[in-house]
């Protein structure tokens, strides 16, 4: 799973063993989903056919899937960076909310020349998320307050807080719905193939961010510190690393990714911020980081799969009458199978590789 120890048997084998379990987890979850469909008396072929067509059946469907996948890529990266440092960032939801709020404000209420405006708005969103992540990091480093608790609490603050900001000070008075005004056109991230396909430049930023994160974790001193703090914090301390600083940096980077997710959603897709905008990204991001087997590059296919499920769900419901909620069930099963990989290994008789595994988080208080 981790790329720390690379046996010399060729890259293909590593990729195969790394991604075999997630792929089989998906297959198993889909099979169980089919059983549920049959039990409720619906047509499996129609349901999954609809899901498939809705997700990747046409160029437009593919584009929509990638649009759905974009925030998940950022969110998955956010959780993954935390995982690598042994931190559990449950606060992606809140960090996205803060990031999107910051981007929406700068996009709508600040006047800047073209190009510069979108960059500043994007960076504002990213910085907002980073700050919202860094505070729980600081609390963890300074007081030992567990980041799971603090990030959950910060989710509430962020979500209720942005809700208030949207509904009161930054409400678009001319609109009947509760949202901020549209951002200036100078602050928009352009669409790649025109508005009809909805696919925007944020997707490319997400892909680029993935490679930057992979490089950062694997090839830089900061990445080494993050990984060491995650693998063995005592050894990191022993080796002269500042573990507290690493925790804060990790949480800030994690929040940065989440903030970018919020920023591209506002600047690239929605062009405004609606009340209760990002519901559900937090837990899904955890799922994607797991599905990616904590490998940054793996986040892209994992997020696209997630986006495909979300995107295809509508047509599935239309074709077969199956509730969209089936997607949630399938997703939960996928996480369960990826997290408890022994189940999948038992079903498919895969032997456990030696020395694998990543400590995702530790119990309360060490």
């Amino acid at each position: 799973m981790s790329t720390e120890h690379v046996p010399s048997t060729g890259a293909w084998r590593i990729w195969a063993t790394t991604f075999l379990v997630p792929v089989l987890a998906i297959v198993t979850a889909l099979v169980i989903g089919a059983v549920i469909i049959v039990l409720t008396g619906a047509d499996v072929v129609a349901a999954y056919g609809g899901l498939f067509t809705g997700a990747i059946g046409s160029p437009r469907a593919i584009a929509y899937t990638l649009v759905e996948a974009t925030p998940y890529i950022f969110g998955g990266l956010a959780v993954l960076i935390g995982f690598r440092a042994g931190l559990f960032n449950i606060g992606v939801e809140g960090q996205i909310a803060v990031g999107s709020m910051c981007a929406a404000i700068v996009g709508a209420f600040v006047t800047l020349p073209p190009v510069l405006h979108v960059i500043v708005a994007f960076l504002a969103g990213a910085a907002g998320g980073a700050m919202w992540g860094a505070i729980p990091g600081w609390l963890r480093a300074r007081t030992g307050a567990h980041e799971v608790i603090t990030t959950i609490m910060f989710n509430y603050i962020a979500i209720r807080g942005t809700d208030y900001l949207i509904k009161v000070p930054f409400l678009d008075q001319e609109s009947s719905s509760q949202r901020t005004p549209y951002i200036a056109t100078t602050a928009e991230i352009p669409f790649l193939f025109g508005e009809a396909y909805r696919l925007h430049g944020g997707f490319l930023i997400a892909v680029a961010a993935t490679f930057v994160v992979a490089w950062l974790l694997q090839r830089t001193i900061v990445g080494f510190e993050i990984r060491t703090a995650g693998a063995n914090p005592d050894a990191a301390h022993y080796a002269g690393m500042n573990v507290s600083r690493t925790i804060i940096i990790t949480m800030a980077l994690s929040g940065l990714m989440a903030g970018m997710a919020g920023a591209v959603q506002v600047l690239g897709l929605e062009h405004n911020l609606k009340a209760s905008f990002s519901a559900g990204y937090g837990f899904d991001s955890i799922a994607i980081a797991l599905l990616a087997a904590s490998n940054p590059i793996g986040v892209i296919p994992a997020a696209i799969f997630w986006g495909a499920l979300r995107n295809g769900a509508g047509l599935m419901q239309l074709n077969s009458g199956i509730s969209i909620n089936l997607i949630n069930i399938i997703q939960a099963l996928v996480i369960a199978f990826v997290a408890a990989d022994q189940i999948v290994r038992q079903i498919y008789r895969i032997r456990t590789a030696r020395g694998e595994g990543i400590t995702l988080s530790r119990g309360w208080g060490r």
């Binding site: 120890h5 080494f224 693998a231 990191a236 080796a239 500042n242």
Partner: protein, 507 residues
């Protein structure tokens, strides 16, 4: 007479090694049978099979002549076996009574009947002469008393066979003597005892019979009357041990590490190091002798920057490094072979190469600016693996795949690879095979000869005696004596370690 416990041809294999190889072993009623062997000889594996924690690959276990298959600790307990682990299985935040009845509560309605339980515990304690405060919280008790709680816990569950795993490892000599009295009383009451140890002297003092394990095989049984320390030692290691290290007389230079009035608290906030002052010179090895838990761990942690001192100064070659953290100490030229290599010394999931640069990852040539230079790291790892004879298939293999001895070599290699002014070596050879011990001892002496000041902390008195040019004895957080290496007398140091201050050369 049928033995209480008998094992026949017991074999357990782990990937790559045979942990126990066709071991035969009997325990008679009312006998103290010592199981002697080095760390890694297979003692723990054998006991874990008896206690149902491992399933044997081959062989039989017989209890009172009946063959049994033991499924887990609960089964073992039900069959009358009790085990006192080296690391106590007590809950520090519960009282003695709560700990003892845990999982075996006397229930009255919906509440725990503490009164009845307490009465039974007191009865047991009086019968066997085990003095324990039933209402005290375990974390308030000294280790010797905690151990007694563990023994009562086993007796409370009607154990007839008691397995004591390295029971004296954490005890002072006095506490160990108290324990021996208890063990003898247990024997007199008809209990049978397996006493696991690698300490020759105490095995000779307490056991009725001694069996020696070496590399998974039972190499012989004997009695204290027939054996002596030398014969047992050679049985244990397979050859007559020469613990004497070849080294030239020390050429101490200027003071390189100056520790003044150092005070350190332990994790619970109690004073662990009290007003410790000493100086370490270039080119000498200063050994710190003492029973484990007398402040050595905290002293080392404070010197190397892992924890902050509450008072006092640490100066490394003129540079104040007190409470400046590990990074400052490393930059100032300190090397540290940590007490627990799994805890501090290594990142087990990392490759050998990454572990080889763990404390130098951010300095050239391993880092260029903020970027890691993998080529330089691989080169360094190749060099060190050869120089320190680390047995591995590849420098890219995870550190977890190495044996204990080779893991420790990685730590030693990494620390000695940097230009050091001071090397702090804490328990550098704990749990290693003889070959690795010799190699590491030689490396330490070589570091000394090249002008590094070495501070050696070890619970093994023999290691201290054979390596040190000067010996400091630590007791209850204080340095109570300083002895020149040449004058060192094992009996006198033994007494000092127990806190008995004689007359003469004391600091």
């Amino acid at each position: 007479m049928t033995p209480v416990l008998e094992v026949r041809n017991l074999t357990k294999r782990f990937p790559g090694i045979v942990a126990t190889d066709a071991v035969n072993f009997t325990l008679e009623k009312g006998e103290i049978h010592a199981l002697l062997g080095e760390n890694g000889a297979g003692k723990s594996t054998l006991m874990n099979m008896l206690y149902g924690l491992y399933r044997p690959d081959e062989g039989h276990i017989l209890l009172n002549g009946q063959e049994v298959h033991i499924h887990g600790a609960n089964d073992a307990i039900a069959r009358g076996m009790g085990m006192v682990h080296q690391h106590f299985m007590l809950v520090p935040t519960l009282t003695v009574t709560e700990n003892i009845i845990l999982g075996n509560e006397v229930i009255k309605g919906v509440l725990i009947d503490t009164a009845t339980a307490e009465r039974r515990i007191k009865e047991l304690a009086t019968t066997f002469g085990l003095d324990i405060p039933v209402n005290a919280y375990v974390h308030d008790l000294p280790v010797g008393v905690q151990q007694r709680v563990e023994i009562v816990k086993a007796l409370y569950r009607s154990a007839d066979v008691l397995i004591l795993d390295e029971p004296t490892a954490v005890l002072t000599p006095q506490e160990a003597d108290d324990l021996f009295v208890v063990i003898k009383r247990l024997k007199a009451q008809g209990k049978s005892i397996i006493f696991i140890s690698h300490k020759l002297r105490e095995v000779l003092a307490i056991a009725d019979r001694i069996s020696v394990l070496r590399r998974g095989k039972l190499v012989g049984s004997t009695t204290p009357a027939q054996a002596n320390e030398a014969s047992l030692a050679s049985m244990m290691v397979g050859r007559d041990v020469v613990l004497q290290v070849d080294k030239a007389p020390a050429q101490p230079g200027s003071v390189v590490l100056d520790v003044a009035q150092l005070n350190v608290r332990d994790e619970r906030g109690n004073t662990a190091v009290a007003d410790v002052s000493f100086q370490l010179r270039r080119g000498e090895i200063v050994g710190i002798a003492g029973v484990q838990g007398n402040g050595q761990t905290e002293l080392v942690a404070a010197i190397t920057g892992l924890v902050n001192a509450t008072h006092g100064q640490i100066t490394l070659d003129g540079e104040a490094i007190t409470n400046q953290g590990t990074n400052r100490a490393i930059d100032a030229g300190m090397g540290h072979i940590p007490e627990d290599r799994h805890h501090h010394g290594l990142v087990l999931s990392y490759s050998i190469a990454d572990n080889m640069v763990l404390s130098a990852y951010d300095t050239p040539p391993f880092a260029r600016g903020y970027i890691i230079n993998e080529q330089a790291i691989a080169q360094q790892a190749d060099t060190l693996v050869k120089r320190f004879d680390v047995r591995t298939s590849s420098i890219n293999a995870a550190a977890s795949t190495l044996s204990g001895g080779n893991q420790q070599k990685v730590v030693v290699a990494r620390e000695l690879a940097r230009p050091l002014k001071v090397l702090v070596a804490a328990q550098p050879t704990r749990g290693l095979d003889v070959g690795s011990i010799e190699f590491i001892h030689k490396s330490i002496v070589a570091a000394r000869d090249s002008g590094t000041g070495v501070l050696l902390v070890s619970a093994e008195l023999d290691e201290i005696l054979s390596l040190s040019d000067r010996i400091l004895v630590m007791f209850r957080g204080q340095i109570i004596a300083e002895i020149a290496g040449a004058d060192a007398d094992r009996n006198r140091i033994g007494l000092l370690m127990a806190g008995v201050r004689g007359t003469g050369a004391e600091a």
